[in-house]
């Protein structure tokens, strides 16, 4: 039996031997290398682009600017079609391409790109929520493209309002009113984005390490004005994605270049270009939370401004989905959530693990800690009092609590010995995090059972490290009673794999997993029919188990039955399966989540009060997983997500200069956790009650680990150092300053250190 065992990663050997091919590793004959040209500022009017000198560089085959595209320049976007394929007269973020050079070598492309002369007028950029909401601010998006949109004359792309009850009439004994900031951070997948495009007999083929091949197909086809059938997407496994490789970026541009040159074209971004291509939206959250005297939530009143970038990308969906469940996993009698997707002259923000939830969670969970302190309650106890029981709705008329969440909380507290005494300068914190999973979405799968009993599974999911291929092979292996090395996995090519909405929202194990399970069972029903026909029995006399067919008088293997049925010509059985969550008109998100991804994180830290350095002694992660189909992979997801959360909690922060260019561009200046930054002890605990909608009772995993880290560590730092910091990241300087300010406040004369000035970095 394969399910529930940590079988070895499918594709693992290729990954440890260097044989795994990522997009930049593919060799294509006669390929042209592409370089893009950008400005060092975020907002400018382009007056002229002189490409003459660049075009004369030996080896250059094509230089394209906006003038070389159909007019008006085609736009693209997964949800809102607002982004020109190439900058069309205006640059709206530093990182928006103005020209593209295709040449025989990378050297020639680079040399030519450096020779392109852009005449431009720099314009004032909108770089913060404050900038953007100023009535005098320049408008990032041309209002003439927002017909019938009441917000057209503002920088608000969309505003959402969710809630129930009546916050203004609610009576609370204690109200916590605070402002929180979550920084702009970047995905920093170790594989920088890479793309290939080539004309083919049907139209065009695009190679991209995309998470969503069928979204890319749709968006590229729309940008070309073609039917989707003419666009083939080949999606090599991403070398890390985390949402950053979800939504199309430069693929439409590459498609045009390939068609113009009639040759394959290849673009491999530098890490610096990747920083300018994808990021997480920052957020300012104003939270007012009312409690009764026992610490029960009376109301939550949240106003969140998310600074999305210059174009919509998937930014509005991030804002709506995160804010819809923004009150966390707590029973809230009265709720009001106002959330805005605010445009700015910055890199378009996109999906990033957690999809807006870590931003909201930082505020809502920190509020509970402040309330606990104000009411003299334990931080675990205040959470316990507010969690719904299993089956209880916490968002009215939506998917109720689908797990034993109080038990999850209790396990996380116990895992770090919550109530044991602590030495000086140490503290503990705990936080829950909850994320709405996929709402309306669809996955289709094909499974082929070959005459020798081996199988091929065909699926449109992308394996970006989460191990989808392994889990899908386990499902087919379980159903057919064969080891995973008898199963071939085919993924990542829209000319072969059936439709899948996306590899996102921790949905693949549940949605694609169920589609594959159904395809396997479709084959098993065919086996039953075949067995009944071959042996002149009624269907009811045949039982198809995992790998064996039981007849009234004997058992035979699948292979024996297939042999008896097909005879010498041989053949195969083809199973199809689909799993869909229907679109629900009128639902704020287009449908209820299939499950809730719930995580509780607890942390213990030590703060060096002289330097502000935080050392994480331990983190425990407890996830309500339903059933872990491959425990090692689930734990690996939780741990990796938690360490990524340590990044935005303690060190990560994209900084912009006054022109809107990223100051800490690249690995030297932008710190992500190294092996030396991880907790001394990191433990992942899986709660398995088999209560999920996925195969064998599974729920999704992958994002949970990142949701609750900031508030758990923030609360631990508060206990260790006695300071509350509401702006992430909790850098040593911020902590040191907070400690110093507190000392001054408590005893102004006792402080002898000079108040040195230095800038936050």
């Amino acid at each position: 039996m394969s399910i529930g065992r940590s079988v070895e990663r499918v594709g693992g050997v290729d990954r440890v031997t260097g044989a795994q091919k990522y997009t930049a590793d593919f060799h294509v004959d006669h390929v042209l290398q592409v370089k893009l040209v950008y400005l060092d500022c975020a907002h400018a009017r382009i007056d002229a682009v002189d490409t003459d000198e660049a075009s004369r560089v030996e080896g250059v085959r094509c230089v394209m600017t906006a003038a070389d595209f159909p007019q008006p320049v085609p736009k693209f976007g997964p949800a809102i079609v607002d982004r020109p394929v190439i900058a069309d007269g205006v640059v709206r973020f530093s990182g928006e391409p103005i020209a593209a050079v295709a040449a025989e070598t990378e050297d020639a492309a680079e040399a030519a790109a450096a020779l392109i002369r852009v005449t431009y007028q720099e314009l004032p950029p909108v770089l913060s929520v404050g900038d953007a909401l100023d009535p005098a601010a320049p408008l990032v998006r041309d209002p003439s493209t927002r017909k019938d949109d009441p917000l057209a004359e503002t920088n608000i792309l969309e505003a959402f309002r969710f809630g129930w009850g009546d916050v203004d009439q609610a009576d609370a004994a204690c109200v916590i009113d605070r402002h929180y900031e979550f920084p702009m951070v970047t995905h920093f997948a170790i594989e920088p984005h890479a793309y290939l495009a080539a004309p083919d007999a049907n139209g065009v083929t695009i190679w991209s390490p995309t998470q969503h091949p069928y979204v890319l197909q749709r968006v590229v086809a729309a940008a070309l004005g073609w039917p989707v059938s003419r666009v083939r997407i080949i999606a090599p496994d991403p070398g890390g994605a985390f949402g950053g490789k979800g939504w199309p970026k430069f693929e439409p541009l590459l498609a045009y270049l390939a068609l113009k040159t009639g040759r394959p074209v290849r673009l491999v971004l530098t890490l610096e270009e990747t920083f300018q291509a994808v990021r997480r939206t920052s957020a300012l959250v104003h939270a007012r939370t009312g409690f009764d005297g026992d610490g029960r939530i009376v109301f939550q009143d949240l106003e969140a401004n998310f600074l999305i970038g210059a174009y919509a990308d998937i930014g509005s969906r991030v804002v709506s989905k995160a804010s819809y469940a923004g009150c966390g996993p707590y029973v809230t009698p009265h709720a009001r959530v106002i959330a805005r997707a605010v445009l700015s002259h910055t890199t378009p923000s996109t999906a990033f693990r957690g999809f807006g939830t870590p931003q909201a969670s930082w505020a809502v969970e920190s509020q509970l800690n402040e309330a606990a302190k104000a009411l003299g309650l334990d931080r675990v106890e205040i959470r316990r009092r507010n969690l719904p029981a299993k089956g209880q709705a916490f968002i009215p008329n939506d998917t109720p609590a689908d797990g034993d969440w109080p038990a999850v909380l209790a396990k996380a507290a116990a895992a770090i010995d919550w109530s044991s005494p602590l030495p000086a300068h140490r503290g503990r914190g705990i936080s829950l995090g909850i994320k709405s999973s996929s709402t309306a979405s669809a996955s289709f799968a094909l499974v082929r059972l070959h005459f020798d009993g081996s199988a091929t599974v065909v699926s449109g999911t992308s394996d970006m490290g989460q191990g989808a291929r392994t889990v899908f092979a386990q499902i087919a292996g379980q159903e057919f009673g064969i080891p995973t090395d008898r199963i071939a996995m085919v993924m990542g090519d829209t000319s072969v794999v059936p439709f899948d909405s996306s590899t996102s929202a921790s949905r693949s194990t549940v949605f694609m997993g169920n589609a594959i399970l159904k395809a396997c069972r479709h084959i098993k029903s065919q086996l039953r029919t075949i067995a009944a026909a071959t042996f002149k029995l009624h269907d009811a006399d045949v039982v198809v188990g995992d790998g064996v067919v039981r007849l009234p008088d004997r058992e035979l293997s699948f292979v024996e039955l297939l042999k008896a049925h097909f005879g010498p010509p041989r053949g195969e059985l083809i199973g199809v399966g689909e799993e869909r969550n229907a679109y629900v008109p009128g639902h704020p998100l287009g449908g209820s989540p299939a499950f809730w991804e719930l995580m509780c994180a607890s942390a213990e830290v030590e703060v060096d009060v002289d330097t502000g350095m935080v050392r994480i002694l331990r983190i425990a992660l407890v996830s309500d997983i339903g059933r872990a189909l491959n425990p090692q992979q689930v734990e690996g997801q939780d741990e990796g997500a938690a360490v990524m959360g340590v990044g935005h909690t303690l060190m990560e922060h994209l900084l912009l200069d006054s022109h809107g260019h990223i100051r800490n561009l690249g690995a030297l200046d932008y710190r992500i956790p190294t092996v030396q930054d991880i907790p001394l002890h990191l433990e992942s605990i899986l709660v398995e009650n088999g209560d999920g909608p996925g195969p064998y009772g599974a729920k999704g995993a992958g994002e949970g680990g990142i949701l609750a880290i900031a508030a758990a560590i923030g609360s631990a730092v508060n206990e260790a150092a006695g300071v509350s910091i509401r702006d992430l990241p909790l850098t040593p300087e911020r902590i040191w300053r907070a400690i110093r300010d507190k000392k001054i406040e408590e005893a102004p004369s006792a402080l002898h250190e000079p108040a040195t000035e230095s800038r936050l970095t």
Partner: protein, 159 residues
């Protein structure tokens, strides 16, 4: 473009004679001229470790060494670790311990681990962390990588 320079080097036991552009890095030579794409490019400034190879017995970032500087030298890359179908114990340990997710950092990570165990066959946990501090991973959370290197160090035949 600039004139090329003849370069002879031994990669994974095999001699190569190539004409390298003087400004191309060893990483570019390995990937684009010799066709060994197992070594990865990420930051191209010596900070992420994805391009780590062993050059004349020293672990280096191949993005910081020019191809011409490798003339006459011996290079070991990720493709040179396994013997036929038999994985190096470090490679096997990475699989056994679930240390691999997307895999993009793994060639560099394993080469740093290889160098560590070549020079310090029984490292402490702190020494492992120091040895891998120059290799960034964004997927795995590192703890399983540490466990893998610890286990490989205890495997007979690892050197």
């Amino acid at each position: 473009m600039s004139a090329t320079v003849p370069v002879k080097l031994i990669v994974n036991g095999r001699a190569h004679s190539i004409d390298a552009s003087p400004h191309h890095t060893l990483l570019e030579v390995l990937r684009d001229q010799i066709g060994l794409t197992g070594t990865k490019e990420c930051c191209a400034e010596g900070e992420c470790g994805a391009c780590t190879v062993i050059l004349d017995g020293e672990a280096i970032d191949s993005c910081l060494v020019l191809g011409v500087e490798a003339d006459g030298k011996t290079v070991l890359t990720i493709e040179g670790l396994a013997t036929g179908d038999r994985l190096d114990p470090i490679q096997q340990a990475f699989l056994d311990h679930g240390a691999v997710q997307c895999g993009f950092c793994i060639p560099g990570m394993i080469m740093s681990a290889k160098y560590l165990l070549m020079t310090n066959p029984r490292p402490t946990e702190d020494e492992i962390k120091e040895g891998l501090a120059g290799n960034l991973c964004r997927c795995a959370g590192y703890s399983r990588i540490i466990a893998a290197v610890t286990a490989a160090a205890e495997t007979p035949g690892t050197k």
